[in-house]
């Protein structure tokens, strides 16, 4: 298996594109024609060859460009990556988890050679060949979490588990849907979810926390979440809202299909063995609506979901003002025909 990595940008001239193959494997998040919150967690097991569920950490055509974008964001704002002192061991856990999974699942792209604590890591797409001592921070150019997450797509929150709660005590967050690690660092599960509407009343977080506290080694879980983004911006952070917030005003009936993107997060959860922490990778996939509607089922269903979404959710997800334009544009792709169950193209 070879991947042709795109030369593309997620800012400025926005040259990001999905190939037809990437469109077909896009993780469309709606199994039915309407949407409401649910915990919707399932075991993160290999499923459907070619899909984003096949491997532990999906690597796709955007890998190299996304890593360049991460380096650019970090250069401007180093606080996107933080790790409280007691989280270093969890960082090493993450190094081990990602390196062993990628070396096993993408042997043509990544290699890991272990000789006791002496590890050699080869990352071909990024041109890295490093030898270091496992658990010795001084042998890496960055802390362990920062080192490996500069080489892995998706944001990472590492959650310490204590007092029957989870605490956001470390993370690498440069591709976020409008939340801030620098603001949330040190908060517990209920504190960092405080802004989410409706879900508290529904008891979603109490049930979700109970599930998360019991996630076990060898039994990772996953779910999808979604929002919408103007332009293929990976970095829609509160810190940079002054740069991207105004772009929402640029949407017109003519440019909806090109400018508006469905943004889907593949969220996974792994128990980390040495630290007993949880790691929460949040992998962002973007697709512009023009590409999305090339799958007829998705065009029909997405129109119905956006049209019928409760106003609180459209507000929270940040597109309530643009909703009429989006619904109008999508309606052209909904002939009213029934849709098949599940998320996959027919």
């Amino acid at each position: 298996m070879t991947i042709n990595f795109n030369d593309e940008t997620f800012y400025g001239d926005f040259t990001f594109r999905n190939s037809p193959k990437a469109v077909q494997r896009f993780p469309f998040p709606f199994p039915e024609d309407s949407y409401m919150y649910s915990v919707n967690l399932e075991p993160h097991k290999s499923y459907r060859p070619g899909s984003v569920y096949e491997r532990t950490f999906d690597v796709d055509e955007h890998y190299v460009a996304e890593m360049k974008d991460r380096a650019r964001v970090l250069a401007d704002d180093p606080l996107r990556c933080q790790s409280l002192p007691h989280m270093t061991l969890a960082g090493w856990d993450l190094v081990e988890l990602i390196m062993t999974a990628k070396a096993e699942e993408y042997p043509d792209l990544f290699e890991l050679h272990r000789d006791g604590d002496r590890w050699r890591w080869i990352n071909r797409p990024l041109g890295i060949d490093d030898t270091f001592t496992f658990l010795d921070e001084t042998t890496l150019p960055y802390g362990p979490m920062e080192y490996i997450t500069r080489q892995t797509q998706g944001d990472f929150a590492i959650l310490d588990q204590r007092d029957d709660n989870l605490w956001m005590d470390a993370g690498m967050v440069t591709t976020q849907a409008d939340w801030s690690l620098d603001f949330d660092i040190g908060m517990n599960f209920f504190e960092w979810h405080a802004p989410v509407p409706k879900a508290h009343e529904m008891g979603v977080f109490v049930r979700a926390l109970k599930f998360l506290l019991n996630i076990q080694q060898g039994a990772p879980a996953r779910r999808l979440n979604w929002t919408m983004t103007i332009n293929p911006l990976l970095d829609t952070s509160p810190e940079n809202y002054h740069k991207w917030g105004a772009m929402k005003q640029e949407l017109t009936a003519e440019n909806v299909g090109r400018m508006m993107h469905l943004r889907v997060e593949l969220q996974t959860l792994f128990r980390l063995p040495r630290s007993n922490a949880l790691v929460f990778p949040i992998r962002c996939y973007l697709i512009r609506l023009e590409d999305l509607v090339t799958v007829p089922k998705w065009g029909r269903r997405f129109h119905r979901v956006i049209r019928d979404l409760p106003v609180e959710l459209a507000t929270y997800k940040g597109f309530v003002n643009n909703r009429p334009k989006i619904v109008e544009w999508l309606s052209k792709y909904d002939d009213g025909a029934p849709t098949s169950p599940g998320i996959w193209p027919d």
Binding site: L89, D160, R162, N214, Q216, Q217, A219, P273, N276
Partner: protein, 321 residues
Amino acid sequence: MSAGTEKIDVTVADVTPVNELVTRFRFVRSDGGPMPTFSGGAHTVVEMQDGGRTRLNPYSLMSDPADRSGFSISVRRDDAGRGGSLYMHTKVHQGMKMVVSNPVNLFSLDLRARKHLMIAGGIGITPFMAQIKQLTAMNGNFELHYAVRTAALATYADELHATHPTRVHIYHDDRGEAIKLERLLDGQPLGTHLYVCGPKGMIAWVRKSAEELGWPREAVHHEEFLAPASGKPFEVKLALSNKVIKVGENQSLLEAIEEAGVDAPYLCRGGACGQCETDVIGYDGKFLHNDHWLTDDQKSGGKKIMPCVSRFEGKTLVLDR
């Protein structure tokens, strides 16, 4: 998918008597691969095929968490117990194939602690064995106070004292030695976390003393696995699976549910973790709640039961399972 924990096929590599009551068992993977690493304080659930019956007992992992060649546990023989420890002592032999779960940690170190103060009683030493190995590798600051009945029954005391002479303190009951708890708790530096594992009375004593001395609740950690109590047999209707099952005298409700082929969730099997919490649809009789999970209101409410340790006496019990 099993509702409990992910399983590992293992072979018993060693059975080593430690003293009159305690035997150590070493498990290696039957496929020759490496065991998962784990965090100090974790346990594994050992499956025992005892006659026609499957027993699932949790035991703390005591080997070095970084050692991927195998897992070690130590089992204290309980002649009056329900039979799991006797099975381990009398039936398990070198070369035997068994199944254990992936590690689960309900007693982990708080890695923010500036110092880890550990108090162990009897076989409660086992989780500390792994934690001490983990802390030693990380240059962590710890101190162990370990109460034993006699020198002959002081499981691993010599080994611990020889490796960490200034950090390990042993107290022998038969010599009238006792942990001077109040003085010990009073003299700790800021940022110390307290851990206790041992008999029920010891855990209660340590937690109460810490509370009275103003220790923050978050800085006091304990591990208490209850063995399921025996009791009168009773009948249960499982509404979802449409089965009527009988819970035997020496069997837990959870074990009876599993024996009927119904997949029920669990983690600790000791009334602590909450995973097996089950809704009661109807009942006529009296609950014998033995868990640490449900609140007093929930226990008197008659709507929830923890089938791993709790029982029932009466005419009918219908569960949402």
